[in-house]
């Protein structure tokens, strides 16, 4: 008989759940949460595709350069070397998707105006979107963590100065800021690498604010006081105690922010300031297809759906994570 083992309130308080803490409890909640689980499925799917495109030896991993040849195309007969640019004049530029009357399974989603297989390009587009999303968010996270932790921990004029700077960056709408940054810093020839840095800078404020408020709440806790009294260096206090404690809310935010990043970078590429042709990027593909909007409708449809699904995956997972970590609303 387990009398006295548990202090769970029941009877009068059936709404409140057992207070669980720690990573294991969080993971268990995520597993239980349908939203988070579906998010995880979608993310895994997109990441698997990205991973595949990265292993494919013919693709330059760093420059997101032209996709010239595909291992997958060799492996799967239906793709008849789709991504090779056909010789001039021979390009069958208007192959519609397979479900179309004139379509064929050789190009399940048809071809783009250059005669490149659209399905392959969509698949490879995952690489740019996902890596840009992850890299830029990570950059913002690191930058924001440094700024927020320093501002929150030292307070005083350091805090004032950094927070004014953060407010300034925050006041310029991200898309505008990123475009201005990308175009000017690249000297008029924007590129996806500048876009990553731009997005990273634009996201410093949001992360800095979260970290700062976490730091402010953690700073006053007894064990931090104790560590300081014991002569632990400030830098070590921040790294060992303050930042790990702020981890949970930041992770939720970062996950949701990946979606926002992908959304913004898609817009950036769509305007021509992000990934440049011939890089297979969903935003870039939407830009190219914009001129063919009326004649080849499908060109505009698939990249959008791909973006939507990818972002949805991160949003679902972020939501689930939030539910798992936030005890305020329970079902």
């Amino acid at each position: 008989m387990a009398v006295g083992e548990t202090q769970v309130e029941s009877g009068s308080e059936p709404g409140t759940k057992e207070v669980e803490t720690g990573w294991r409890a969080t993971l268990r909640k995520i597993k239980r949460d349908t939203t988070a689980r579906w998010g995880l499925y979608v993310i895994t799917f997109v990441l698997a595709i990205t991973a595949y495109t990265l292993i494919d030896g013919n693709l330059s991993r760093l420059t997101f350069g032209n996709v010239s040849d595909f291992a997958m195309a060799e492996a799967l007969p239906i793709f008849e070397h789709p991504e090779r640019l056909p010789p001039p004049g021979e390009a069958d530029t208007n192959v519609p998707p397979a479900f179309h009357a004139d379509g064929s399974m050789a190009h399940p989603l048809g071809t783009d105006p250059n005669g490149r297989d659209y399905f392959t390009r969509i698949v490879y587009g995952a690489q740019v979107s996902v890596s840009v999303g992850l890299a830029a968010t990570f950059l913002g996270l690191v930058g924001g963590t440094i700024v927020g932790a320093v501002a929150g921990y030292y307070g005083g004029w350091v805090d004032d100065l950094l927070m004014r700077a953060v407010e300034t960056v925050y006041a310029i709408p991200p898309l505008i800021l990123i475009i201005v940054f990308t175009v000017f810093v690249s000297g008029g020839s924007p590129d996806v690498r500048f876009a990553i840095i731009g997005v990273g800078i634009a996201f410093i404020p949001v992360f800095a604010r979260i970290i700062r408020s976490e730091v402010l709440s953690v700073r006053e806790m007894d064990y931090i006081e104790a560590a300081r009294a014991a002569g632990v260096k400030d830098r070590n206090i921040i790294l060992r105690h303050v930042i790990p404690n702020s981890f949970a809310p930041v992770m939720v935010y970062a996950t949701l922010q990946i979606g926002v990043t992908i959304l913004i970078v898609a817009g950036l590429s769509f305007l021509g300031f992000g990934a440049q042709p011939p890089t297979p990027d969903w935003g870039e593909m939407l830009q190219t297809s914009h001129s063919y909007m009326h004649s080849n409708v499908w060109l505009s449809i698939w990249p959008g759906i791909a973006i939507m699904i990818t972002i949805m995956g991160f949003n679902l997972f972020g939501d689930g994570l939030q539910d798992a970590l936030d005890p305020r609303i329970n079902d």
Partner: protein, 391 residues
């Protein structure tokens, strides 16, 4: 206060259960009590005993996934809750049971009002105190907006809020905890109900304010003649204010008697334990004797008597026999009931039964509890370390 007249409120065998993923929680498991006109009836027990659920059941305001599943609640001859067997053999709500509409229009507020535990959260932060008061008065009494306002100001004065005219237009955050609780009392009284359910109204307040509020309620109760159901875990408050007491443990009433009888002729070991755990003038803090262990979960109550794992008088028979709340004595013509087999009214062989050995686990836990109680003796907690404040 005579028991012969028809009571204002009669609760019979009330059962309220919560259907959670983990299983059915029998929060209120067949309790019966009544409230007569002009009486203050206590509902006492540790956190999780089901006191609050029981009181919300009286208004039919149990929140999902909770549900009243059985019993009967009669108020002034009207059926607030009652079941009968339908033509298909299933239980169904009785024909004469008040509809939701009737409960809202005629019972809640105008007949039965409540005072909640947490005065900080109970008032809406974005409306003025006076506005909220006026709204409820207007809704529950046939008064015009202007009259309701007058009444609201009057009530604020009555509960001892200085400058009521001016404070009428202030917001809850501008009031202290004690003042907010006075507002809630004003709210309850202003609707002129016959019964007020006070759900731990002083738990969130500090001791001096608690005393003031209890005095205030005592005075106003005499003046208005309103009946009260006073839900609390604090035996000290019970002694000060209640006429009759119902002691609840794990969804059941284990002892029921007039207040003096309860204190001077305690019949249930749980009540005794509750009394031993509060400070009294004739005892020093060192003599305080907290109840051993923590109340088990209502989802899987112990067999037999639900208190037996923590009971100092427990014998083998207590594990087997589940005692009902029986009359064991009479005091001033009022029955004194207790649900404990050690009394002669139960003939189940308690005297011959072997005392139960305490498991080491319980002992270990009790030491932890001693600590909590001693550090916080004036709150008169019943020795449970499970958060009292969260109810």
């Amino acid at each position: 206060m005579s028991s012969e007249s028809e009571p204002l409120l009669r609760v019979e065998n009330l059962k309220t259960q919560f259907f959670t993923e983990a299983g059915t929680v029998r929060a209120v498991d067949g309790i019966s009590f009544d409230v007569h006109e002009g009486e203050i009836v206590g509902l006492v027990g540790e956190s999780g005993a089901g006191k609050s659920v029981a009181s919300m059941s009286l208004l039919r305001l149990v929140e999902s996934p909770g549900e009243i599943v059985g019993g009967e609640i009669t108020y002034k001859g009207e059926t607030i809750f009652g079941l009968e067997e339908g033509p298909d053999g299933e239980l169904q709500e009785r024909e004469d049971m008040l509809s939701n509409q009737e409960m809202r229009d005629r019972i809640r507020g105008n007949e039965i009002a409540v005072i909640f535990q947490d005065p900080m959260e109970s008032l809406n932060p974005v409306f003025t105190v006076g506005g909220q008061l006026r709204e409820f008065i207007e809704l529950n009494r046939d008064l015009s907006s202007e009259q309701a306002r007058q009444e609201a100001v009057e009530m604020l004065r009555e509960v001892g809020i200085p400058d009521p005219e001016q404070r009428y237009d202030e917001y809850p955050h501008q009031f202290s905890g004690g003042m907010r609780q006075r507002v809630l009392i004003a709210m309850a009284l202003a609707c002129e109900p016959s019964l007020i359910i006070a759900d731990e109204p002083t738990t969130a307040l500090d001791v001096t304010v608690e005393g003031q509020i209890i005095d205030l309620v005592d005075d106003l109760q005499e003046k208005y003649g309103t009946s009260f159901i006073w839900v609390t875990h604090d035996m000290g408050v019970v002694a000060e204010i209640c006429d009759r007491v119902n002691v609840m443990y794990l969804g059941e009433i284990v002892e029921q008697s007039p207040v003096d009888e309860l204190f001077y002729d305690t019949k249930h070991p749980y009540t005794e334990a509750l009394l031993d755990s509060i400070p009294r003038p004739d005892k020093t803090v060192g003599e305080l004797d907290p109840i051993e262990g923590v109340m088990p979960e209502a989802i899987s109550p112990p067999s037999g008597c639900r208190f037996h794992p923590r009971c100092p008088d427990a014998r083998e028979v207590c594990q087997r026999v589940h005692p009902e709340n029986k009359q064991v004595d009479t005091a001033e013509g009022v029955p004194h009931r207790a649900a404990c087999v050690k009394h002669d009214a139960f003939d189940v062989g308690y005297d011959e039964s072997v005392p139960l050995a305490k498991s080491p686990q319980v002992t270990a836990d009790s030491s932890a509890n001693t600590e909590t109680s001693v550090t916080d003796p004036e709150r008169g907690t019943a020795g449970s370390s499970g958060g009292e404040g969260s109810e």
